[in-house]
Point group: C2
Chain length 586, copies 2
């Protein structure tokens, strides 16, 4: 045990590997905050610290846990749970290492994003946590996924963050009022720098976030009085191809309403509240400055202005603030450009507008649909169009660049030849497919005429000019997009009094579920299962009425078990939990 | 749809089937309470009511959900969730009807104990809930299992209730102070009357419980502002034989400490705080008055007094209050009697005491062990002894009684003969096995000498006289009985520099998990898996050191993947999440 004792005895005295900013970075950082509710309390609390935890969710991919007194130990880069007699430990899976307690980012089941903690006996740990910084404000601890790319920032971090914070339960002090930033301490555990979208992240809380580097740079633990760990995946619509080629997630739940609540919040934070009139609509061209260029961007701009009689604004990350971009997209009739993360701004588009996403040669638009999926989310009124360069003479490749900008000269000549002669990038996984990178970073001389005619042929472009403009940037579809389930059918009765055409029969009757008047649906059906007692197989019937006389296969002096469930549109309700027994008798 | 509209239109006007106590029972009941914190607010709240829910736990058998604005509709005997735009809906399983959202009692996966709610669109439901009674106090809604039997009351309801309330998170106002009754509105949904242990249930809350019959007896919904539904199974130790013959549950987690915290609370509520001295120890004989009698109870009493020189107190449900029984058991050296629910009081026994459970003829004690399991819970210092009547001449059967008191005359003569000649009740399921009931309700002339010698031969009886008596009735074992897990091993390194006896080798070294100093254990081992890259099988090694040089099966110029995990006593830690790659080279 010698090695190990040494490790632990060195805790309080030795310099650490990770100490980029010198000691006391966390307290300095924290105390420089303008927000008085953030209180640190280093070492002044002398009652023994014990952890508790309550976990929501049925699986590591949908779990969020709430902790009292969760501590982070910088020396070993682990969180620790202090088990004491009064520790609550509610809602945990049988084995929290199989494979993990939960995902720490909104990216599903990615093993670099797993969260767990180590166990400790509270008494044995007390001397270690006595020197800890205590974060008093309720915290949300998670990992940002890719904080330097706008699509990832919005889709993986900020939308999930907004939804998570909006739907956390409990203390009044942390409940969101719908307007101001959340009264939460955000804690980013992915280990990255604040990044280019720092301001955007900062809009979600009234205090500066804590970064992992802050906690790593000090030689004492950081303990969170109350914290939630994890982030909701409810709002995500796209997976990036880690286990199968990229595409929409299979069970999209987020709706246009959810997205627009987020956009409304962000506009308020950005102070983008001016309401443009219908006549102020503009065409926004998303421009890239370093790669994946539209080589004839100016021709395209002129053609758009000429054909649609609207101002065309060319925006780029390098020339426009996020606030400007959000403002311009919010009043645009058409949003177009080369495939890229700025298309995530399409969520700010007004009703009836059109997105045109351009793809370089050999890139099949059907295989890369994060923005198409966004534009087509349930309840959205945005028209999505894709255009692909099919002309190999209009593309400019860059084989000589580094691999991550699409270069291929590091590959064998055989491989280079194959890639250069291919006419479509085959389906592939993330993130280092050389052929994909080679093609996606091509520059293109786009076919202006075909893009204009694509737009003109789109009926929705016309529609966008005539459709009423939503005055508050908010699409309120007025339509509850949640699929509500019918409850169980009621009062199932059966009799076999009647002989129908000389045949024995079962007359079944029931009442509809008690919630039929309180859910929205178009069509209602009943599924009836009839099983002869003691047999395994059954006959199933689909009906639209509440009673029916069955004769097919019905025999005299036989007992039958009956189950019935209600189906509204595609939503299937539960069967009666105990079967109903029916007998035919002579 | 006619039938259905009629059903719903009748809601507010028709008399109801379930209206045993006339209208307005709930409000009367509620308003008669002395506790000012219970506020009802019928119809005065005019903002639209929307539900939210957060569920803890990974499976319907371990789930507890927290609701805002959950409503119960008496007319259809269903709970309803009002879905609105701002409904939070966190932690739900994919299909809450497969088979159910959760158990509503502490009895596991019993389909009569399932809880679910019906969906409703909040807007469509508003006119219905406008007339609802609103329960403002945070509520705990669950089903009692068998509220007229002391074992069931303690094991299925009150211990789980105590544990659940002690470990619920969140609002300060509902957090338990460790002393007074909980500031919770209890809601009993099993539909039974208060029952003979009403006072005991009432000790757990500062307001009177709401019974299902209260809510059924009025013609308007009851809505709970904040409620938890469900109850923890953490404290249960026994299953009653619904799916397999009765016995201890397979994964008992409750410890003596948990039980004693509950006992301490109950003693305080019962005002049993007197501390008996060692010299005041008594022998408690649990007596039954109507069935399963000890026919020579007086002989047994005399023999006990004579042999152990202690006062023998005969207690029975019919003659002693629960308070008296708890007091007497708390100071007893020996607790004995015929198998029955009063043995649940064994949880109040002091350290070093002895339980003797007597079983009638043909009842194998090994098959009925609720009290043996209790007495042997981890950390308990109570000696358990079972005695069975093996002499068929000393038993008195009652074949003529009704079936639920062990009568068998309703059975065929053949069946009666078989039962009467059997020498042991075979393993059986709950709850109507005729042979079991016939035998368990026998009266017995017990063999006093053999019981006395059983007791005298028990070393622990002697121990009980000499062991120090816990002065506060509390067994604090000082021993954290939770099994804490080692974390992952750290800094795994490998090299293959050394040739050992001319053979290639892999030298692996690692550091112990970071939490080793902070968990209790006796023995530590490391499990090492070595797999040749590209192969499916692997070799596994169990070691007690932190480094080892492997030569068996190690080949030159080969890549190996290595996983290592730590095992303390029987608790297995996680493997390193990414394998470590090692190469042997020439």
């Amino acid at each position: 045990m010698h090695q190990y004792w040494t490790l632990w005895q060195s805790w309080k005295t030795l310099d650490l590997l990770h100490q980029p900013n010198g000691a006391d970075v966390l307290p300095k950082h924290v105390l420089s905050s303008h927000h008085e509710k953030f209180v640190t309390d280093q070492g002044s609390n002398k009652s023994p610290m014990v952890s508790s935890a309550w976990c929501f969710g049925s699986h590591h991919t949908n779990r969020i846990c709430y902790f009292h007194n969760l501590c982070y130990l910088p020396h070993v880069d682990e969180f620790v749970f202090l088990h004491g007699n009064h520790s609550a430990y509610v809602g945990f899976p049988e084995n929290r290492y199989d494979p993990t307690l939960m995902d720490m980012s909104s990216v599903k089941d990615h093993n670099t994003q797993y969260f767990n903690f180590m166990d400790a006996d509270a008494d044995k740990m007390q001397s270690v946590v006595d020197g800890a910084v205590i974060v008093q404000q309720t915290s949300l601890i998670f990992r940002r996924f890719h904080p330097d790319n706008l699509m990832h920032v919005l889709h993986d971090d900020l939308l999930p963050l907004f939804y998570t914070l909006s739907t956390l339960p409990f203390a009044e002090s942390t409940r969101w009022n719908g307007l101001l930033p959340f009264n939460f301490q955000l804690v980013f555990m992915e280990g990255w720098d604040p990044g280019p979208f720092e301001d955007l992240y900062d809009m979600f809380s009234n205090v500066k976030p804590i970064y992992k580097s802050n906690m790593l740079s000090v030689d004492y633990p950081t303990c969170f009085r109350e914290s939630y760990v994890g982030i909701s995946k409810y709002t995500t619509w796209y997976q990036y191809g880690f286990v199968e080629p990229q595409g929409p997630i299979h069970d999209i739940r987020v709706t246009a309403d959810d997205i627009h609540r987020f956009c409304r919040f962000l506009r308020m934070q950005l102070n983008v509240t001016e309401v443009p009139s219908d006549s102020e609509r503009v065409i926004v061209l998303l421009s890239r400055r370093y790669n994946r260029l539209i080589l004839n961007e100016i021709d395209l701009t002129f053609a758009l202005a000429q054909n649609f009689h609207q101002k065309v604004v060319t925006v780029a990350m390098e020339t426009h603030s996020l606030k400007d971009m959000v403002y311009l997209v919010s009043k645009s009739s058409i949003l177009l450009g080369m495939h890229g993360s700025l298309f995530a701004l399409a969520m700010f588009l007004p009703k009836g507008s059109t997105v045109v996403e351009l793809f370089p040669y050999a890139i099949n638009p059907a295989h890369y649909t994060p923005y198409k999926t966004l534009a087509n989310l349930h309840g959205t009124d945005v028209n999505y169009l894709a255009w692909q360069n099919m002309d190999s003479t209009k593309t400019v490749t860059h084989p000589e660049r580094s691999w991550d900008e699409g270069g291929i000269v590091h590959l064998s000549e055989e491989q280079q030849r194959r890639i250069m002669s291919s006419r479509e990038v085959p389906l592939h996984l993330c993130c280092r497919d050389a052929e994909w990178l080679y093609r996606i970073y091509q520059d293109t001389v786009v076919d202006v005429d075909s893009i204009i005619s694509l737009l003109k042929n789109s009926v929705n472009v016309q529609k966008s000019h005539s459709s009423s403009v939503d005055q508050n940037f908010v699409v309120e579809s007025g339509f509850n997009s949640k699929r509500l389930s019918p409850s169980h059918v009621r009062n199932i009765t059966c009799s076999s009094d009647t002989v129908v055409h000389g045949l024995p029969s079962l007359q079944l009757a029931w009442q509809p579920p008690a919630n039929m008047r309180f859910i929205n649906f178009v069509e209602v059906k009943y599924e009836v299962w009839i099983q002869e007692e003691g047999e395994d197989d059954y006959t199933a019937w689909m009906l639209t009425q509440y009673n029916y006389t069955f004769t097919a296969g019905i025999q005299l002096d036989t007992n039958y078990n009956v189950w019935i469930r209600c189906i509204v549109d595609d939503t299937v309700g539960p069967f009666n939990s105990n079967h109903v027994s029916c007998s035919t008798s002579t």
